[in-house]
Symmetry: D2
């Protein structure tokens, strides 16, 4: 299989979905081997690098892309299969950033209290052990945690001529920050503009659900993805599929709306796949969904609604696209 | 081990936490074998029983209890270990109820739209296969789903002389509706009043996370639990523990507040257990928590924050109470 | 007109709606002259009295009542007309309380940040000028503000055998904390239990909409009210009426739900009063409602939806009860 | 005073903040006489024009502009004084639109219920009487309501290279939909990009607070505004001033966050104007703010926090800019 490699120059990083010129035209079916910078734009390299001193808000969450997918038109479905994710550095970083995160007041949940203390944690990658190492900043506790690479951000250009910061999760995907965006997952995104304009970035060496402090173990990432195009059928909200689950990601505020979005979209997807009445799909999903929170820290909060495929052997979503891409991935 | 059996008369059902006389005094360490009626109060027995015709709002979610735990005082910790949960009927029921549930407007998320269609689904239990059977009400689809018994409701009397409906999840536990409340789980509840006044009920033969339509596969349940008392240390919010996880359940609105409650309480619990600075605990949890939604349909929404114990071998919560109770449970 | 005076002993204060024995039986049509303690239970008397040192959480927001209204049954409408509100002390107090208020994290909107500074402000009442005096605690600024007495809390016993803290605003009224609850206003509350069990308290010498810091200019109050009973027609949520407005108060979380509740209830009230289709009422109200926030600090947030009566001269709500009570009030 | 007139061609309408080329360079101090199309883009002209048939989602809420303000740089303050607003047609329109509005489920507060009935109401303007006429669509009720022209949308280009739909209220202003945006009001907006790129539109002949059904009495508008530039001091969120009030508009979700934003920004503004400690400003505002909801229907909900100027005679905001512009307005 043909693989196109691309490592952006610093000047090529993009910080929005929409509003940027494509770096490359890509034919459906192409495998891309991409390098992406970390969400801090490499500004936090040691525990002495504090966010308020080092981060430049204009240059957060740099994306690699956008890629113009040949033939993609508004209303189509872009399938992005993640073949592999490999940390591109021997360490990742996480930090508390003033008035950013889940257990602090923010510019939106605005309060009079002072900011939490700033700190940066460096996690060393142990490739052989397959771990990243947590080390206390205010004590001497340490623990090795499994490497679990994922992409915080996968998205296309928004509809309606909007241009959104790469920090935003929305209908167009973007900064959904779900651990489900890992190797073996296929993401289905509705295409809004000609060429779709796909970008990826925000590599996480691992992340807890909720991404409580606002940042994961952030690190530069080598991603291999296969991009496919399905004409028509563009989903309203991002759908994910792996060997075990069908998933929808909803992103809004308050968080119950994120869930409502994802649960309703999944209800309609199931109704369509299985030719069910919506009330039957609503009922059935009430007994089988798994609903992990993705993030409670971004400009929209994201919730994932998952349906185990094991109960439903007969049916393939998107005409078996995921199975097909899994097969191709093995040959990359 | 001594087992006390109790099956309430219909006239003994209680519909509140607080405000009811105890049915029995129970010494710490006692195992209780309890029968509880289903959340509909047995009013939905066939697909022809519709909620608006059959349900009596005064008698929803009947609880078995309350039990006066000898020696329990405000500030103590009640440990409730679930030894086993066994469906007490050969079928469970689920239903859509007008203006109740997650994908409908409600008395709170109040809108002008008419109610969704009412329907009742009956799930037959296949004990040998260990399944409950979903059957479409508006088509001919069916699928067998694994039995996964749990208790929707476990709680004690509230603080401040309040009396709350058994439909409410709150600090005192109550109707948290999380699938984590299953056999093998120990729940730690802060005691608010002398005797604690523990009640349980709302058996679910299985439930998806979120409990989307508002009700699970509801069924009468035989529960065996062991009740223990820890003097002092009463947690602010319900904590759960099984062999694999420490957990906190937060219940409030909007749902981000439920998560904040649970994540903060877990941060403080971890900081205490591991002698960590709160900022280190905040950071570490950001990379390891799992955060399933429990319900988005009750008067408060519930979110579970889970920490895998496998990374932390040295430490026991509550002085090893869960391990101790697991041991005892094997001998019941 | 007969006036019944009542000043509770300290031991008679009640801290819940529901769950308390009535202090007195009152016939419909009775005028009551009531004294109520301030929400701090008189614990903050100087700027040196800080909340964390002086307040006892068991004894906050003491209510005067409950009054058993003879003939009141579940489903009826209790009309409470406020004839006059007169400060019962020469000073009021306001305070910041740790983790309580609108611009601080709370036990629900839970965060890791430390509490805001505590402080107590004493407002001297100038009866002749009709003002209360604000004086900086951290500087030398002062300003006289108009006296605008109101009752933070007016409510009846809840439905469903619940007992709720007097800090809660809900369907049963309670701690709505709206400046609309002033002399000249008639409150209509749905009766849930025999005798209704009306209580009032939480006098405010004045309060801004939102009650941002969590407390108003709190003070003991002399209230004269007339209590009337309308058989049937109990509104779902508290309704208010003065000479200029019809109003509904919704209390829930998130705050959009408070608004939805009040706007929907008002839509239905208007539809009923004017024999309008609900869609016409929805449309008309969209162009004429005023919607001040009442509080964003209590266990539920409260929003008031107001309709100016001036556009609608022909119609009287509740058969002219407000006009009737205004007339009687002049003769008290 | 020099007045620049501008009526856009249909092809010149803009539908975003940011992302559009300026139509004109304008020097600070200029008065602009502008015509703007209604939010439906003139698609609803009779009660037979239903939204789903006539509205084109690509062309909603057309704006007049953007105007490049000479000398404006990021960090500056743009002052926009509304001299007069005059309906440009003899009728306005309001409509219910499927899954849009406050008492219906939406694409975010997503539910399974069907859409509310669609309808369009035409309000005839009676210039002599100064009224618009409501007429039932489902009955024969009618009532004349005072004309109260306002602009739903006033905004500048966003920060961070974002481009946002003209339906969005945010830090940059935009679709705030508050009745306070009327003749006699000065809006202060933080400048994000060179030239500020001011646009206005969405004329309302009148609107209730909350804009419950999603749309006001929408109509083409003739607006006379004066644009001034203050170097530096750009506020974080839109501030408004009229002869009686200082105001801040917060726009976010959930609605308590909109309030928090506005109340915090006002607290800081007051602290700065009066050299108050933030805790004193927090306290003082708790007793004096008025907090009408602006809208509960847009992509963000907007809340206005108002402070009566009458209590504070000594101080002028923005060095008396509003008073100055009021003076100039009289001479236009």
């Amino acid at each position: 299989m043909n693989i196109v490699e691309f490592t952006p120059e610093r000047s090529q990083y993009v910080y929005t979905f929409g509003g940027a010129e494509p770096v490359m035209r890509v034919n459906p079916g192409t495998a891309l081997a991409l390098w992406s910078e970390d969400a801090y734009n490499h500004a936090l390299r040691s525990v002495d690098d504090l966010a308020s001193a080092k981060l430049d808000v204009r240059y957060l969450n740099p994306q690699t892309g956008p890629f113009y997918i040949v033939g993609a038109e508004a209303g189509d479905t872009l399938a992005v299969h993640i073949v592999s994710l490999t940390p591109a550095r021997s360490w990742g970083a996480s930090a508390t950033i003033p008035f950013f995160g889940g257990l602090t007041s923010t510019d939106r949940t605005a309060m009079l209290q002072p900011a939490l203390p700033e700190a940066t944690w460096i996690y060393e990658v142990d490739t052989d052990a397959g771990t990243v190492g947590f080390q206390s900043r205010f004590g001497d506790f340490e623990v090795a945690l499994p490497l679990a690479p994922m992409l915080g951000t996968v998205g296309v250009a928004p509809a309606g001529s909007e241009v959104r910061s790469s920090l935003v999760p929305e209908r167009f995907g973007g900064n959904m920050d779900t651990p489900e965006m890992k190797a073996g997952t296929t993401a289905y995104l509705g295409v809004n503009v000609e060429g779709a304009l796909l970008s990826i970035g925000d590599g996480h060496y691992r992340q807890g659900e909720g991404e409580a402090c606002g940042t994961a173990v952030e690190g530069a990432m080598n991603s291999v993805i296969i991009v496919e195009l399905i004409k028509g059928g563009g989903p309203l909200w991002p759908r994910l599929e792996n060997d075990d689950y069908w998933m929808v990601v909803g992103s809004s505020r308050p968080m119950e709306d994120s869930w409502r979005i994802a649960q309703l979209e999944m209800t309609r997807w199931m109704a369509e796949m299985f030719d069910l009445h919506e009330m039957d799909a609503y009922q059935l999903l009430s007994q089988i969904t798994e609903t992990p929170i993705a993030n409670v820290v971004d400009t929209n909060y994201s919730v994932v609604v998952k349906v185990p495929k094991k109960y439903f052997t007969r049916v393939q979503a998107f005409d078996g696209m995921h199975r097909e891409l899994r097969g191709r991935a093995r040959r990359v």
